[in-house]
Amino acid sequence: MTDTLNETMGAIGRPLRRKEDARLVTGNTNWTDNIQLPGTLHMAFLRSSIAHAKITHIDTSAAKAAEGVVHVYTGADFPGQPGSTCVWPVTDDIVLSHYPVICEDEVKYVGDVVAVVIATEKYLATDALDLIDVDYEVLPAVVDMEAALAEGSPLVHSDKGTNHCYTAPVPFGGNYAEVKAKADVVVTRRFINQRLIPTTMEPRAVVAAPMGMTDEITLWTATQVPHVLRVLLALLTGIPENNLRVVAPDVGGGFGGKLQIYREEVLAVLLAKKLGRPIKWTETRSESILTMHHGRDQIQDIEIAATSDGQILGMQVHLLADMGAYLQIITPGTPLLGMFMYSGIYKMEALDFKCTGVYTNKTPTDAYRGAGRPEATFAVERIVDELAAELGMDPMELRKKNWIKHEEFPYTTVEGLTYDTGNYEAATARALELFGMEELRAEQAVRRASGDPVQLGIGISTFTEMCGLAPSRTLGALKYVAGGWEHCTIRALPTGKIELVTGTSPHGQGHATAWSQIASDIIGVPVEDIEVIYGDTGRSPYGMDTYGSRSLAVGGQAIKAAGERLVEKARIIAAHQLEVSPDDIEFNAGTYSVKGDPEKATTIQAIAFEAFTAHNLPDGVEPTLSGEATVDPMDFSYPHGTHLAAMEVDTETGKVKLRKYVAVDDCGVQINPMIVEGQVHGGLAQGIGQAMYEGAEYDSNGNLLTASMGDYLIPSSADLPSFITDRTVTPSSTHPLGTKGIGEAGAIASTPAIVNGVVDAIRHLGVNDVLMPTSPQNVYRALQAANKGGAA
């Protein structure tokens, strides 16, 4: 394997080493916190330590008098100013909330902003926080979702008269009551999909500065969504959009946590404008854990109906989704992103879906890797295992009996999506081969028979997901306020170098490398001659950014279309130069030649120079050589895969060990298999993290108990094994490159695989569920409960 290509064709599909890495392994980076502008003022936030309280009095006089302090602002300085907004009001009667940039009279979660100090130095800004005196009148906190909906509950937003945010009943196909009536078996479970904290390694950071030459304010911010953010900042601050430039420099991970408009971003922009100086803030990890939005947090009541021979007839899905204290960018829509995925890969006649969003006095929730789809996949893959146990069937056989067969594609699911392609048989066969299922089942039987204190379980997850957010008309029908297209401009510069401008905004995904590979194949220029430009509304004006495994699935289409337009324009110039008709020109690997006379040829680089000098262009052809495309995807894409986990459970201590993990994913055509594999690895670690280690815990007063990295356990190297991964390739038929998306697959598939494995290890002891994370405590409790005669 090589770093660079000596030939230009065939870059797609190669595990090229990443262009990005040279900077990142030498520390020559450009994180937002690295930016030091002259005259910078630093922000520090006084945050509520109480989940719910009225602010009865604030005295900032001592803080204002402190060394280095320039200003102290409270909510009274920004009356009515929103700090975030929701772009997806999912129902007509949704109860929306006002999220103040600084709280004016009431705090609603621990971490809510009460005041902001502006000082000449970072340490001095933080010092002054201690000098602000706040009197609170403590109000009862609403922590539990079901309690929040009970009559007489204290209210998060007293002016709304309810904690009920919305209920979205979705009339999917079939009639569940009818299929339930004819079912032989109905299995009902309540699953808890616990609250998670994204925990990007780079905390959030912002620098906002008036740049002097125009009225422009530039905001550098650790975001996944510079383009979306610019529009929303303009709407929220009143600063004209054409005076705002948003730059996402090097961004250290996102996972949905940086798909947001945060009040700290809004304040930085407002204060840079007001004070005429650069404003900077970088959060501490403690702040990040408290106030970067959280993910998941659903109570899932799931019912599945089937015949006695294992034919799945239908499912009923009733969700309670914790919104937290306020709605942010897609808070209410996040659980609904999963609603199309509850039937998974299975054929069924009916699906009844309902989701209720609930306000509580906790950190707002929003998208976290997979956003709704991991929750759905967890529920369906867990309930299918429970159904198999109820029927006494092998869980893989039950899946095989019900999944969509490869010859049945395209297949329209009960939710009304049309899966274009898939081959669950092939991915499963490969996974079983890598896993060694028979040997492991034999060992499991031996351990059971001998009463070994360490039992073995096998967890299965056969999943699909929807990527490529999204066809704009579909988004409109779902009440989402924006489109789902993507943009690319490819410019051939006079020297033959290429600028590829993309609207995607990577933060670890390797777009600079992968996008160069795509363009290299299309325009015939070496990968190393292509510079990918992204993450800056000044240099890349159009884009919908990076989330939802959309960058390749949607952005890749724009690259292809832009490249083809460039090639076609150059063909006309080449034909003119070679004095033949464009129809007589062949294009191959960057060279235009005359059909039947290959000696008569020119290169795309030479054409670029001709287009620049414009001395000899055909009539009607404009100077310069570029191609531009904005593409709306025709459909979602549907990656799938089969994941298998071998879990050891110590029945005496509750300790769980992941012994072996096999993941066979099918994401269609792979542009760079090395990057694909890396995405799978990282997704697995996060999905396994949810299953085994992670969980945000609040006490009954709304205090976050897992408020440091010491308490909120993201997996370390010692907590995970090496993974066994492979891919099958079933190209998408609705995406021109045949690609589907891979960013979230690992996180979606692995959580149920792990929990199914843990339950499988101890099912014979009477356990049929274990709460996540499957910590020794939760496993031990499940064993104890079963021992007392009642399964969990």
Partner: protein, 156 residues
């Protein structure tokens, strides 16, 4: 204010610092060596790992005054003028990084690990790096990179 002097990435540096100033803030804010990032304030994540007299330390957990007279190596001083350190090369070769935020600390911790144990097993690598958190890679390729670097450095 306290006067300190130290050799940082091969250059003699000195200055007056507040006694409470963290080493990582001295590096980043005072010396402009922003290649060493800050990932937490509780010494859990290891993103800020540097070498002090050849041993890895989390620079958010050390006061600047404590390194008076010491030799500090950051990610920006690891490569020679013409060549990356074998661990840097291995991280690229094995795709041991994605967003790259944990990478400086991960590489510095790996350099220390390989100094102490030039030929570690997978388990020893996983154990040796468990104080450095990564959220992107699942560690799979980091472990591979350290093994790869070990092989390169021992000439096998």
């Amino acid at each position: 204010m306290t006067h300190i002097s130290a050799t940082v990435d091969g250059t003699h540096r000195q200055g007056e610092v507040e006694p409470r100033l963290l080493l990582v803030h001295w590096l980043r804010e005072n010396l402009g060596l922003v290649g060493t990032p800050i990932g937490c304030d509780t010494s859990n994540c290891g993103a800020c790992t540097v070498l002090v007299n050849g041993k890895s330390v989390k620079s958010c957990n050390v006061l600047a005054v404590q390194i008076d007279g010491a030799e500090v190596t950051t990610i920006q001083g690891l490569a020679s003028e013409d060549e990356w350190h074998p661990v840097q090369k291995a991280f690229k070769e094995c795709h041991g990084l994605q967003c790259g935020f944990c990478t400086p600390g991960m590489i510095m911790a790996s350099v220390d690990l390989l100094t102490e144990n030039p030929n570690p097993t997978e388990e020893e690598i996983r154990d040796g790096l468990h104080g450095n958190l990564c959220r992107c890679t699942g560690y799979h390729n980091i472990v591979k990179a350290v093994s790869h670097a070990a092989a390169e450095m021992s000439g096998s």
